[in-house]
Symmetry: C2
Subunit: 418 residues, 2 copies
Amino acid sequence: MEAPYIVIIATGSEITAGRSLDTNSGWMANQLFELGWKVKKIIALPDDPDLILSELQILKKLSESRPVLALMTGGLGPTEDDYTLETVLKLSGKKSYSVEKAKIRLQRIYESRGKQYSDILPTVIRQTHVPEDCKTLDNSVGIAVGFMESIGVDSYLVCMPGVPSEMKEMFTRRLTPELKRIYPRENLVQKTKWLWNIGESLYQKDFVETHREELFEGVEWGVTANRGYIKCIFQSTDSNKLETVVAALESQYPKIISDDVFTFVHEELISKKLTIAVGESCTGGLLGKKLTDPPGSSSYFIGGFLTYSNDLKQSLLGVSKDTLDQFGAVSKETAIAMAKGISEKTKADYSISITGIAGPDGGSDEKPVGTVWIGIKSSDGSIESHSYLFPGNRESIRENASNTALFLIYQSLKQRKV
Amino acid sequence: MEAPYIVIIATGSEITAGRSLDTNSGWMANQLFELGWKVKKIIALPDDPDLILSELQILKKLSESRPVLALMTGGLGPTEDDYTLETVLKLSGKKSYSVEKAKIRLQRIYESRGKQYSDILPTVIRQTHVPEDCKTLDNSVGIAVGFMESIGVDSYLVCMPGVPSEMKEMFTRRLTPELKRIYPRENLVQKTKWLWNIGESLYQKDFVETHREELFEGVEWGVTANRGYIKCIFQSTDSNKLETVVAALESQYPKIISDDVFTFVHEELISKKLTIAVGESCTGGLLGKKLTDPPGSSSYFIGGFLTYSNDLKQSLLGVSKDTLDQFGAVSKETAIAMAKGISEKTKADYSISITGIAGPDGGSDEKPVGTVWIGIKSSDGSIESHSYLFPGNRESIRENASNTALFLIYQSLKQRKV
């Protein structure tokens, strides 16, 4: 069988009106990519049954010439702008029925809240309905049942809830096994490396163009720009070729290369039983937030200080008035004094300080907006500081600064290992 | 003229492979909505010239029967997977030329970095190219020039860079005036209110269904679920009708209704010259981050404490060992002691503490995952605390907790006004 033509559809007027960001489609695309399938198109449509139906008819038509897999999220909720079931019934000419198992589950949920079945609103019961003769996809998180409707030879329309936690569980546990059973997959291997503070064009010129003939035959490459780093992605059916490319990349950029720093820092701090504390000025808590995103971070993150004002830099972290007056709040000396203060107050193995000018105001000729100093006290007691001039707006500068702080922790942990 | 059929297209394999989230399309959709136009479809396509061309051909065809406006971002960069210009030339059968003004600008940028024109890579110069006989859209942030190509009667394909800061500036300053000149707009008025800790279904049943006949003739409504709150949106061509709906909503939900709390808290703290400080446990910095997102937050946010560990709750905020032993870290008593500690150490007018169980571990029968206590010391010296049981996963609980903390600040500031 030919690889399926995969289309992801998100429905919701809140998406097409720009009030809400569709994160489901990207998540699914990534999952599919890792499973060996490529998405041809991602579509978002308003809650308009005519527009949705006409899009589904195009896909049904397309399935006459090749296998089509359409994955649709949203529109299975209880409100009147939820049109998915109705539209699919129109497309197929079928009727719907209420899935017994889902009805029982709904009843139990209501009983556990001390309510009766008769309390359940009809609009809520509608969420247990699916078209006749389709494959149902159980929802173990929420109420709405998903389903997989045949729309042609080897072609399916999959409908799932728009609530991310429900969709993800359904996709992973119910849908993925079905898709693996039905569709052939490409046996691609992928490697990703991160390079810090380098532009995409320069990377392409200096690495990809330079090594094109010797390294890139049978290897696809891609690059995505992120805040502070670019992700260099390589794919091939030949894992040896990938190893060679990555080795060349490592030898060309030894000082700015890393793996996923978020994952590494998290795992390394846990496995080495090390602790970390922060002191943030311009990032206002963003570094602490990033360090505590993963479950289990309480085993290393003990806390820290948000010293946005100069008064708090003095009273909480013991930065001297002299240092602030002489060198300014955004300086090597302040970054180092902050790192020392964090370490003294928390006794953490690693202490990271960030002080900078996130803008849009507060810049000068000498210290323009984007100037950031990061101090790091490592587990061996040494204190380093690094200065940066990050590009972009306030949000970009704050993201750059906190990501780069994680890269510095990464490097310090790596050196520790050796 | 009929309203244009608006399609937004984002190109980029990083989007269709799920490695990067398309935030441009939603931003544009929102801008267009506020200008009085509705988007019919948002599409993301991989960097595949054939797929892009075939999509553009469909839109060109559609423009034979009605005005079409296609807004495309991405693919104008310097790397070899940037296909936009090439594809548009194929669609139109035109040639391209380098825009003189953009070339001079590029030269100045290079000179300001101490480089010569001859240093500029040809791939970078390519970014100054546009199709012949099109309307160019200057880029005052980056290098790539945007353009607006006629694809039929009253129909245009607009190509803009994928870098958000470049696209936004170009959209607002260059494109919007053109669109206003060309297309008629719907004169819709919109009102948005937020309701806290209530589900969409219940809102629909209790408010929309109940008042449908008396309130909703000529008024469209929509609702989006967010972390901690739902946004209730109403639209009409008649602003009096909107006022009536909003008044009814306020009278039905006086205790849980708010405007955009992020904007209100920011503006109110600035205009009343009040200061705020935080003490965060389970949110790890997220509340501080949210408070410092907007420029100008340094006039009210003085800083705070990330007391993730119990040791730091004691040593930094003076929460007593007795309190922690007797009531636990997640308790009314600890939340209040934290708020007191923040206030004493920072002298801020408002002190907010958050302590909770973000999970997935650490829950118990008595205090399940999602249990969060928030303490707030207001400018009049009073201290309150509130407990919540937030739904969802770790990320959801942290978002819920920090948003709800902002709602509590909102309420306290509102009461202060009276």
